[in-house]
Amino acid sequence: MMAANNYFGFTHGGTQYGAATAGAAYGGQTGYAVAPAATAATYGTQRAAATGYDTAYQAAAATQAAAHAHAHAAVAAASAYDASKSAYYQQAAAAYPAAAPPQPQPTYDAAAAKPAYSTPATYTQNTIVVQGGARAGGGAKAYGGVYTHTHSHTATTAAASYPAQPYTAPAAQPPKQSANRGNTAYDTALYNAATMYVAQQNKTGGGGGWKNYNKGGVGAGQQRRPKPPPKAQQLHYCDVCRISCAGPQTYKEHLEGQKHKKKEAAVKLAAAGGGAGGAGGGGGAGRAGGGAALRCELCDVTCTGADAYAAHVRGIKHQKVVKLHTMLGKPIPSTEPTKLGGAKKTVAGTPKIAFVASGGLSTVASTSTKEQKPPQGDKDKEGDEKEDEGETEPEVQPVGQDYIEEIRGDDGKALSFNCKLCDCKFNDPNAKEMHMKGRRHRLQYKKKVQPDLEVKVKPSMHQRKLAEAKAQRLLVRDEIWARRRMHEQGMEEEERGYWEGGMEPWWPRGPLPPHHHHHHHGMGVPYGPVGRRPETSDDRHVVAKHAEIYPPEQQLQDIQRVVSHTEKALKSLSDALADHARPKAQAGNKAQNDKKDDKPEGKEDGRDNQLFSFVGEGEAAAGGAEGAAAAAAGAGTAGTAGTAGTAAAAGGPRALKGVMRVGLLAKGLLLRGDRDVRLVVLCHDRPTVTLLKRVATDLPAHLAKVKAPGDDTKYKVELLPAEGAVQVSDGSINVLVSLTSAVMREPAEGGDIKRDDKDVLPRQKCLDALAALRHAKWFQARAASLQSCVIIIRIMRDLCRRIPNWTPLNPYAMELLVSGVMQSAGAALSPGEALRRVMEAVGGGLLLDHGPGLRDPCEKELVDALGNLPPQKREDLTASAQQFLRQIAFRQIHKVLDMEPLPKLKHATGGWKFPRKRRRSNTDTEGDQPNGEGKVVKTEEKMDASENSAKK
């Protein structure tokens, strides 16, 4: 800033000669190194150094010679030169002794003598050098850097001794050429201006109008506007606007018009900025950001690109001006575009203060650098230029012709064009051409049509930021993954340690920073119950339904009590019968009986759902045969003690060998409201009606005997000969006690039949009871161990009870079905899955006629447990299951289960849903946490961004 101020302070004489500034900057070395504006200032200086010595005199002289009006500027230029010169010398004197005293002097001279300045690129490098080196080495080194360039131009070896030497290599350019060109271009510019002036004078005859106008307008500054030309003329030409007017009246009006005034003001400004620029060849200083702008000198129009220029040249306006100028006999510059600058005006203006911004200066310099070269196309220069400006190369091929549709008028003439890619319209074929070459269009084409098209992208600040953010995110993601792995390992170890008891749990550990603590809390929790099975909505419904149908504790206890009493009473009855059968009880037998009674660990009833044998140990031998029979019946545990297989002891075997719970009770399938349970008593021989009657008569007495003292339950025993059973009832719970025997399986003729067949209980009933025994055994062995199986069978029992279509499915077949379905799943199923799978199996046609049937595992032969189901029932069953299946699939399991839909689970217990939701809320609240990690990242990001921008 200081430099800039200095600059403005010094530019009274000639703005272009910022040498004074630079000198000051060089002299005050600290200011130079720090101030950002110094770049521009330095540049200006160089520029001055370049052109100044060589051309300033010339310029001044030329201007003087050409027009009186320029005297002012010439003086200014001269004085500026002086100033700069002195500044240089001063500064050189100040700086060089510090660095390398002997050499700089000739170098400097050379530089002064041969104005050779390098491109903007080199200057940028210079400033870098300055920034880097100034701090340590002081301004001297930086200065040296600046001069290295001049060295290289003059081809001296002195450059080697300078610290900034590496930078000279890229900057090395053909110095003479550029210098020459600088001169020639400037000369031609001057010449042009001069001749134009002369021509104008000649034409106008008096030399008044133009000169006067310029003099007045630019030189005076205060003056309102130029006087109209005094004499009548065919052509009223306004040089500012470069138009001709039809007559004096219109001309006058034009001059008073807004447009003209604006132009005039602009010209004045330009003149002020380029007043010295006229000398230096840097016109158009006021035009900011010239880039590679092309100028049409004739029309004084600046075009942003070659295409625009071409369009302009073809344009009607340009043509008009050309025509006019031809008419006027004015020189017409070649249509070759001038890269902005060109001494378009030799008009000197009143020196103005504080107009040209420092940025403007650089523009001037850079454009003037280029002004000469476009036709020649110097390679190095070109490269530099591209590097500098990222301008669209002239050789760009138009693309996407197909996507520009012509909108034609009625006469078939193209009225306008519409680019479908960019969604824009043009009325002009030229504009269309330009658009097709333009960056925007090419980008769209790349984006939408040909992804591999090369478009030079000027990365905007925004894009760069996006890219940075993306990179940052990637980084963070990698980090997270890495951390996750670490964390999981850590958790495992800690978990193990925790369970092994060797290590203390992770959280009280001291050295972990609080940040870690937070982290573990946030992430550790959801991953805790890894092995836990998630609970779906279906599961919850099934479990809820199950809880609903599961019998209450009271009911279970009641049933348990009644069954237990019945069993004890039966045992007691069995004992009594045995005693009765052997009235002269042997001593040993008696003793054994006593012994048995003494055994406290002996089974009291059939609570474990196994056969409750009435046979005492002493009777083992006696029970041998029965035992074998029981084993044959599938109740193998019964008489295992009797495998000795000896003949029956004296007095014969017991008539009632044992009792076993079967059916719902044994399988644990009781539902709420179930009151009927079954017991099966195994008899030694074919159970007869006589025996049944005996049991029915005696049982009440024994029941009363086994009752607890305070128990006043009234048991009622009912004889059901048709069922081959007696029913014990306490009013609410009915226990059906069936009598059966293994020998019933043998054909009636086969055995030693002693009794009348009529007396024997119905065979089928006895066989059913035997089958029930086997089913209970099978269930306990196979089905009960499958996960979810018992729950689902209970649910299915409920289903069969509720839904008529399902009623024909007999309980055992249903159990077989469900267990088979569970077994085939190959893995543990959750209740919801299990129910669905059952429906899938039935719905898929398992029970239909062509299906394999349900093989009864409790029979030796192949028996279909569902063999008797009529086709219509199968059909209905299948159809119902199919409907249920789809209802389950579409979350209407509550309809299947006949219950209210459960409310949706939000967070709470569903551990498996936890991670996701938790994480979400985690990130949401993070901003609030003082230790939140998000914050850290944010600041880090900021830091990165600032670092990056600092680098650039």
Partner: protein, 393 residues
Amino acid sequence: MVRGAGRGGRGMPGRGGMGRPPFNRPRVLMLRPPFDLILAEPAFPRCKPAPDDSALTQALLKRHAELCPTPAEQSAVLSLVTKLQTVLDNLVVAPGDFAACQLEEVRQVGSYKKGTMMAGKNVADIVVIMKTLPTKEAVEGLSNKVNEELNKLMRAEGAGSVSCGCHERGFTVTSSGAASAAVRVLVTTLHQNLRKLEPEVHLDYKVISSHLAAIRHSRWFEENAHHSSIKVLIRLLRDMCARHSGLEPLTPWMIDLLAHHCIMNNPARQALPINVAFRRALSLVAGGLFLPGCAGLPDPCEAAHARAHTALDLAAQDAAAATAQTLLRVVARGGHRYVLGLQAFEGGKDISTEITVWDGVVVSPLAPAYQETPEPMDTDDKDDEGVQDGVAA
């Protein structure tokens, strides 16, 4: 200092973070395959004599013979495909002045490639992979070019002419020879270009990626499903699906996968007889293979855990299952002739929507279970799964 750096690096992602939660435990693991009687054989040993299925087998074979394209049809489509392939290959190798698009590759896909074409549907498919992005203009340009070249070729051979018509998938080349044939040219682009697609300018993203998928499908089919039983079953199933409204939404790819699964996926890994496989296919779909919450058939050509049937919407899944359920019961009652289309049912009515009586057994269609509920069902797990699959695919 060190700790600070570490902590910074470990930062959680910002809230605009990464699209997908990084550690989602894929719930797809939760899904299990449906009950499949063939695989569940050990649990349900046959305990009654297998029914005589020869009637069904005969019917299946007879129907298949009807469904196979005639030699004339085959040669017509073959000649058209060969010519078109030539033209397109030329465009790939030497585009010349053709600038509307750049072609990367041309591949035959679909039923023609798989050898599962059906009689009366003489349409082959060719996928053209463009190097450039598939704009509608590019497709049009390609279509015109192909039309021109192909007609040149046809004229040289004196073999009639072709016409091209553009549509949203590409364009269709139809030959107007004696036996009409058509080739659908399906346009797609390179995989890396997929995310550059814009709905207004280019062909639809879904269409484009489905064409890419078609290439994968063809390749998979070639490698895995060349068994002719599979092709027979595919024809039969496609025909069956086409004739029953509920099964219509099933895509050819689903049917391919289903047929392959039914024929090959058994403990013995030997092709099953066609009648068993046909029953199995019906039974699986009826058993909810294509219902939400079921593992269904994993799509071998998509990213892990993608399920083939998620392309169907929920109502279609329900309808497909319900239709298959009814058909299953009809077939079980001996109505396979109607299901296979050997015999029109009551003047062309859809048997899956009618109440039928077979030997006194009433078989009735089922009501749909899926309802458009006012409050969306997607807050729960099942539909989430569907969504996730969508993401995964």
